[in-house]
Symmetry: C2
Subunit: 266 residues, 2 copies
């Protein structure tokens, strides 16, 4: 049986996304509400931040607020909508001011950095894959910030939009590796180094022909980047950060080339 998302549902969730966040206390009969949509969303975000998306259930959110799971349904149509709200509210946290007084490149780097931070603070953002855009104020806020910062490159907006998409993808992709490594360490209790060590041993044992089958990968491994990090930071996390910085530089070099090409032949 196919379930059609009724238009009423769509309206309800858009109202939740765009409606006033502080609702005037009800007048009329019946008990006063003890919760609010915002309180529920905040509790849900706390749970996801602390224990990951897997720990987020209607029960766990209700419990944190001293209610049953079903109490939440007074405020929110269902879990899907709750997650949409979490997602959009969190995106709204992105700072909006990235002055380009030091040039567009510095501003873009600062913005990318803020995006990175946001995702590391709320790693579950990456596990939320809204099948279609949520179209909430937070999502618009992020798009607006990205577009306006990169508009200062002077490129036409129709091209800036692709720069924005690429930058966003590079940030999300690289921060995902960092976030997931961190989460895995917390969930399994096994440090990343221990895991890596155990796996390498297994790999060498079960796939001894690895260097022959994957020569380039092997060559990369041999170049001994692994032990190079003397810091406490886990390997995969450092790796992810480096990938973020390097990927960004490449992309911005590409943007620079586009600017030159556009203004060059005057």
């Amino acid at each position: 049986m196919v379930v059609f998302a009724g238009q009423g549902d769509a309206r309800r969730s858009m109202e939740l996304l765009w409606g006033p966040r502080v609702v005037a206390p009800r007048t009329g009969p019946g008990p006063k509400p003890g919760l609010s949509v915002e309180a529920i969303v905040a509790a849900a975000i706390e749970i996801a931040d602390a224990d990951g998306m897997a720990a987020l259930s209607m029960r766990s959110v209700g419990e944190r607020l001293g209610r049953t799971a079903m109490a939440l349904y007074t405020y929110v149509p269902g879990k899907t909508e709750l997650v949409d709200l979490m997602y959009d509210r969190t995106l709204g946290e992105l700072p909006s001011s990235f002055p380009d007084s030091s040039g567009w490149r510095a501003a873009a780097l600062a913005l990318a950095d803020a995006l990175w931070d946001l995702h590391l603070r709320h790693p579950w953002l990456l596990q939320v894959s809204p099948a279609r855009p949520v179209l909430g104020p937070g999502e618009f806020h992020v798009q607006e910030t990205l577009l306006s910062v990169l508009a200062s490159t002077g490129l036409p907006l129709s091209r800036v939009r692709w720069v924005v998409a690429a930058l966003f993808n590079i940030v999300r992709g690289s921060v995902q590796a960092a976030a997931e490594s961190r989460q895995a360490a917390r969930e399994t209790g096994q440090s990343e180094e221990d895991w890596w060590y155990a796996r390498s041993a297994l790999l060498a044992e079960l796939a001894p022909d690895l260097p022959a089958r994957f020569p380039t990968v092997a060559r990369l491994g041999e170049e001994g980047e692994y032990e190079a990090s003397g810091s406490d930071e886990p390997y995969l996390e450092r790796e992810a950060r480096l990938s973020f910085e390097a990927g960004l530089e490449l992309l911005l070099d590409g943007v620079e080339a586009a600017i030159v090409k556009a203004s060059g032949p005057r």
Copy 2:
């Protein structure tokens, strides 16, 4: 209670990933196995391809093979490992030959295109977020292919690695939009255009101050890119493809700049 992933579990899943795919028929007492790991993985992939990751359960896989859910546990330790196998086997489908006779750029584009196709054929790949790399032959195969194709830029491998990561992220990010839009259309039965139309109306009603709050986004919307596509292809999907191509060009321009910079001051 914290569950430590025992080393035995790790060994078992690595054996499944790297072991022989056609097992010799057992000798000794007891009934002959009617299934195989590969048959189970193939069935699971078919389900995920057709109905998405949400439809994948031990029960559904068992049913497709004419067994109960529990029968699968004879072959596979659990659902996690099954998904890891699905993921790695599917990555192994990526073609490995991308001749650079027309230059590294053409090869890189062809490779990116193959990656795009692979992900569109198996959109659930993007929902599988292995908390840590699976380290199976398929994953190595993809890395090897990416690295060797981009090694033909002449850049040192330590830099090629970052190009690979960025390219991978751009492909995955943009194909995700396309895949999810497609899946949403199939699941809800609502075409993307209908959805978009309904949402725009709601948005205009519930957030009339949108152009003032998000001027750059609004400006982009006004430029009327929306109606431009006269084709049958849904808007979001076309958009995703354009984002893929444009992002790739930007990145490769950046790579070109890096090559020039490296070889320029001779």
